[in-house]
């Protein structure tokens, strides 16, 4: 959802910039387009005002960098030395502060590109770049201001998608039962899906810090619950390293599938802000445990904990669906 918004903003900026470029007499139209499209999606997770300020600073740095490149352009070793310095600082910034990698890289890239446009007039270049910056500053006033509430709603959707994907991956391991032969492949997938969830919850925490205190108090309970839900899903994955014989899972395949489908259905409902019905019963799984699993498996206790964890997850999802904060 966040990505779709980014694409939409870029399309609007692109369309407007192209229109301005078509009617503008300045021969350096390319710089107008480049500067506006590079800057439009620059958001380093700060407040709207700080984002605008940061974008202005990046725009000015691009301009200054290009002007200096032109200044040193008459002597190749001076130019190479200057580009060495800018690349060093850009790379250092990108490594030390990963969230600033993109703006630092772009300032450097445009400097290198400008080194070959020595014939361009500096005035025209400056006009084009500043024109791009101003265009984006104005556009963001209309495209950017979103309320904290809508931001939380968007992140909530992303969170549900990411957690649902993690839960599905975990159950896939149990239903396919070839985890031992393909451990690395499954762990790699789990790793990526776990990261995706942690990324979203981290962004929510950052948003909470940015909110006014009254609003953050309103949402902090929700974010804590969502945090706990991640733990509830992660613990379901513990079965994969607790059991030695995966063929035992064949005994409860039907129950596992039913649980997976019901959890997926619960996630769909909470995404649509609908209440999760309490119509799923773990009785058949519990009965299977008592009659069969306890006998056939070497680790009966882990299955007991697993069944309990599924019940807890479903209870947590039901409680979450009853919260009004995101509606």
């Amino acid at each position: 959802m966040v990505r779709i918004k980014q694409v939409f903003r870029a399309i609007v900026a692109g369309a407007l910039t192209l229109t301005v470029a078509l009617f503008w007499k300045n021969p350096e139209k390319i710089w107008l387009i480049l500067s506006s499209l590079i800057l439009i999606n620059l958001q380093i997770e700060k407040s709207f005002f700080k984002n605008q300020l940061f974008m202005l600073v990046v725009g000015i740095l691009i301009l200054v960098n290009i002007c200096v490149v032109h200044f040193f352009g008459f002597y190749i070793f001076l130019l190479a030395g200057y580009l060495f310095t800018t690349t060093f600082f850009s790379a250092y910034t990108g490594w030390k502060y990963p969230r600033y990698f993109y703006p630092a890289f772009m300032i450097n890239l445009l400097g290198i590109f400008a080194a070959a446009s020595m014939s361009a007039s500096q005035m025209n270049l400056a006009e084009a770049i500043l024109g791009g910056v101003v265009l984006v500053l104005i556009l963001r006033c209309f495209l950017w201001p979103t309320t904290f509430r809508s931001e939380i709603r968007v992140l909530y959707q992303d969170y549900c998608d990411a957690l649902q994907a993690l839960q599905k991956q975990i159950f896939e391991i149990y239903l396919r039962r070839d985890y031992v032969e393909h451990t690395y492949l499954y762990e790699k997938e789990l790793h990526h899906k776990r990261f995706a969830v942690l990324e979203v919850i981290n962004r929510m925490r950052i948003l909470l810090i940015q909110m006014p205190p009254k609003l953050s108090t309103h949402y902090i309970g929700l974010v804590n619950r969502l945090d706990c839900l991640i733990e509830a899903v992660i613990v379901l994955g513990s079965l994969r390293y607790e059991i030695r014989d995966f063929s035992t899972l064949e005994v409860c395949e039907k129950e596992l599938k039913a649980a997976m489908d019901h959890i997926a259905d619960a996630f769909e409902k909470i995404k649509r802000y609908e209440p999760v019905a309490e119509d799923f019963s773990m009785e058949s799984f519990e009965m299977l445990y008592q009659t069969t699993l306890q006998v056939v498996t070497n680790e009966p206790r882990v299955y007991l904990v697993f069944i309990h964890n599924i019940k807890q997850l479903l209870a947590d999802l039901k409680n979450l669906s009853l919260i009004k904060e995101v509606v």
Partner: protein
């Protein structure tokens, strides 16, 4: 990441650009920036898989420029601008690397008097400069990088484990401390974090390092899952009677587990272990006995009392923790004996 590592990587990248600028001035076949841009982009390859990832970056770069140049040869300037803007807009749906290649594509669409072959030559030379710089100028040592990253994680896990233990035993200020440790660990386990060695999962890592590194990383990630499960149990406090019974065996278990983690850090830092460590067998037996005493004999799955399920979950988590630490210790032992440590 260590500051010296960041400085070395930054210097290597800057040097590649410097060399590319000099070489392009004297030997370029097309616009001078192509050689430099390709060197810059290839240097963004994953730090411990320079050749394979560098080649991948180079091939994508070539493909993007060839397609852009070909399109610009028959499309009008306005059509090229429109296509370039459309591609940049669509690329924002993906990650930052896609944005960079979209900008490169846009630049490739600009009018040129040079043939595609000329650009390919320049890009090839720039890519070669980038790959060779990555290989020979302060090359990143995968084994050293990995060990340094894991040492950092092991220390985080140790602190988190201690905080969870305090939280389970309902000590003062434990709730804030455990949350602080959890957030610190999760922020490091982010995709864009430079601390987590996610490059271990990328294709192209040295075949001799790959299996061991991946196995070790999987085991250390497993620790984060076990600790998350223990944290979840600790969120629902036990009664004072249970806490009193658990205090001694649990504290002893956690202390011995932390000694194992400290020993692992020492071994990974290529130091000798100060003292021998326990295999946690006796400690776990003590906890198992305590928890079994707390759970009634008549307990079964239909029992609605959640505290017994939480106690069993805790027992299983401690068992998993024990097995994972032993597994990690054995992996280190094998590696150390091979390295003569």
């Amino acid at each position: 990441m260590k500051p010296t590592f960041i400085l070395k990587r930054s210097y290597a990248q800057a040097l590649a650009v410097f060399l590319a600028v000099i070489v392009s001035y004297f030997y370029s076949f097309s616009e001078k920036y192509w050689m430099v841009l390709s060197a810059l982009v290839v240097m963004q390859a994953a730090i411990n898989v320079p050749v394979r990832q560098g080649m991948q970056q180079l091939l994508i770069f070539l493909l993007v420029v060839v397609v852009g140049t070909y399109v610009s040869s028959f499309a009008s300037f306005f059509q090229c601008l429109l296509l370039g803007v459309a591609v940049i807009c669509l690329a924002t749906f993906f990650e930052v690397k896609a944005w960079i290649f979209a900008i490169i594509f846009f630049i490739a669409l600009l009018p040129t008097s040079y043939a595609i072959q000329a650009r390919i030559n320049d890009i090839g030379i720039g890519g070669a400069i980038g790959i060779l710089t990555n290989l020979f100028i302060f090359p990143a040592r995968a084994d050293v990088q990995f060990r340094n990253s894991v040492i950092y994680f092991v220390k985080l896990y140790s602190r988190y484990l201690s905080a969870i233990d305090d939280y389970l035993l309902q000590k003062e200020t434990s709730k804030e401390l455990v949350l602080k440790n959890k957030i610190e660990l999760e922020s490091v386990l982010q995709n864009d974090s430079t601390e987590f060695p996610s490059w271990v999962y990328q294709a192209g890592l040295s075949a001799t390092l790959r299996p061991g590194h991946r196995h070790f990383l999987i085991m250390t990630e497993r620790l984060s899952e076990i600790l998350a499960s223990m944290h979840r149990i600790a969120r629902h406090p036990f009664s004072q009677e249970i806490v009193k019974r658990l205090e001694e065996p649990l504290t002893h278990f956690v202390r011995e587990a932390q000694k194992i983690l400290a020993a692992m850090s020492a071994v990974l830092a290529l130091n000798k272990m100060d003292q021998p460590v326990s295999d946690l067998k006796e400690e776990w037996i003590a906890i198992e006995k305590t928890i079994n005493d707390l759970i009634p004999v008549t307990f079964d799955i239909s029992d609605q009392e959640p505290v017994y399920f939480r106690l069993i979950s805790l027992l299983e988590d401690l068992n998993d923790l024990r097995h994972t630490l032993i597994n990690l210790g054995n992996s280190l032992q094998t590696a150390c004996s091979k390295l003569g440590i």
